[in-house]
Amino acid sequence: MTADTTLDLLDNDPVFHLKGGMLTMTVVELVRLSHDHFARQLAEKVEQAPNFFVDTPVVIALDKLTDPINAAGLTKLLATCREHSLQPVALRGGEDFRALAQSAGMVLIPVGRQREKIIEAPAPQPTPEPVTSAPPAAAMPSGGRLITEPVRSGQQVYARGGDLIVMAPVSAGAELLADGHIHVYGPLRGRALAGVQGNTEARIFCQNLEAELVSIAGQYKVAEDLRKEQHWKQAVHISLAGDSLKISAL
């Protein structure tokens, strides 16, 4: 069979599918233009949660920016982002930013209907991190990670864009991160942070709650408080009720 005939036979087989999808995306919303401050503050943020930012696609929002910005200024800004392994993919702003976006080879997203809320970065942070949160249902795409070996002190596991299921013990000093839910079928003695991109519907399930910290969408409780719960060392599920974590028996 020659290559040509193969092509003919497959002519009507689709080679791609168009699908509607929604992604949760971190937005870096600029307020003032000061490169030094930006570089320093970004470095601090990244230091607080290094793995959270690795290859994270971000939208640079210019609509709240009070200072003027030109192509050179933008280039510098994008370079700083990439230095910290953020991946700027689009600009957000009015039509007057279109030329600027084109010059930087970026997409321009109009300001508008996105639902947005301030959440904290994955680890409990003193200052909040602005992040857009898509509607809950869409913010829980399939995918996720299954871990069958113990997660040891010093190790970190992140299920980007999905749920994290751990079928082994999670040691004190270990850290679990997921954009979706976290399930632990073994003692949970480390830190578990679900919904780290701001999904308030994310939950944590575990067979034995002995965690150092649990967090959902930035709301957290540390061991000192968890120990006072009646469900300490028991099977629980943890969800977000308003602004606080609700811990109930499984």
Binding site: P150, R152, S153, G154, Q155, A168, S171, A172, G173, A174
Partner: protein, 269 residues
């Protein structure tokens, strides 16, 4: 097939060198051709515990640098024809060990030996990393206290992610060796119990070595404690070696011994 066993812990002073000497000697006494390699460059304790410090001419770093060959460098143990020691350098620092050099020497040792026991330095830095990187099995030495257990846990994480086998998607066989176990202090709640530690680390228990005067006595004499078969620690190490070789042995020395008069007079300790 030669097996590389690393004796490691993370935390310092928990009994790695004591254990390397005991296990290496135990394997040799059971007929396996064994070499114990001291990775603790700059400190060099193994040769003291083995009682061969006065016969050291060349060392591990010399072999890596090509200053000497293995034949010239390996020290034959006085007690067993099957046992050799590759001493560490006292004058060099950890940077003298290179991954390529270590791999080359280990490969050469594999051609003659059944077991290569690697005595790891403390910490999780370069020296400890090189000691465990090429291992097929790991004996994780832990004392029954929180900080030691935490460090062992960390080391287990590294074994499962940063070793040669792990990088190839394979598993290193892990063994827990609880040392300096003192049943009395466990009973008083001053130390973690065997089951506490097993529960936290969740790897198979190779043995429990009691806190024992015999260890210090043996190391002062330059005789591995496993040779002292009257002592509790010596017997516990002998059991551990049997388990390492696949034999099922009940664990001893876990309970507080209430000594009777006869035991006191003719007692085992």
């Amino acid at each position: 097939m030669a097996k590389i066993i690393v004796v490691t812990s993370g935390k310092g002073g928990v009994g790695k060198t004591t254990t390397s000497a005991a296990i290496g000697t135990g394997l040799a006494l059971r007929g396996y051709k064994t070499v114990i390699v001291d990775f603790d460059v700059g400190l060099r304790n193994l040769d003291l515990i083995m009682g061969c410090e006065r016969r050291v001419v060349y060392d591990f770093v010399n072999v890596i640098n090509g200053d000497s060959n293995l034949n010239q460098t390996l020290i034959k143990d006085k007690r067993s024809d099957n046992l050799f020691i590759l001493p560490a350098s006292q004058t060099r620092d950890k940077d003298a060990l290179t991954p390529e050099g270590v791999e080359r020497v280990l490969n050469e040792l594999k051609e003659t030996f059944d077991y290569i026991v690697c005595d790891s330095p403390a910490g999780i830095e370069k020296g400890a990393h090189l000691a465990m990187y090429f291992a097929d099995e790991a004996v994780v030495v832990t004392n029954p206290e929180v900080s030691s257990v935490r460090d062992s846990d960390r080391m287990l994480g590294l074994l499962a992610s940063k070793s040669k086998h792990a990088e190839a998607g394979e598993k290193i066989k892990e063994h827990l060796l609880l040392t300096r176990y003192n049943p009395e202090r466990v009973e008083n709640g001053e130390m973690l119990s065997v089951s506490d530690v097993e529960d936290i680390l969740s790897i198979p228990l190779l043995g429990v070595i009691p806190e024992s005067q015999a260890v210090l006595k043996a190391s002062n004499q330059g005789v591995p404690v496993i040779m002292d078969d009257k002592s509790d620690a010596g017997q516990a190490y002998a059991d551990a070696v049997e388990r390492l070789l696949g034999k099922d042995m009940p664990h001893r020395f876990l309970e507080l011994q209430k000594k009777g008069l006869l035991q006191r007079l003719f007692g085992g300790r």
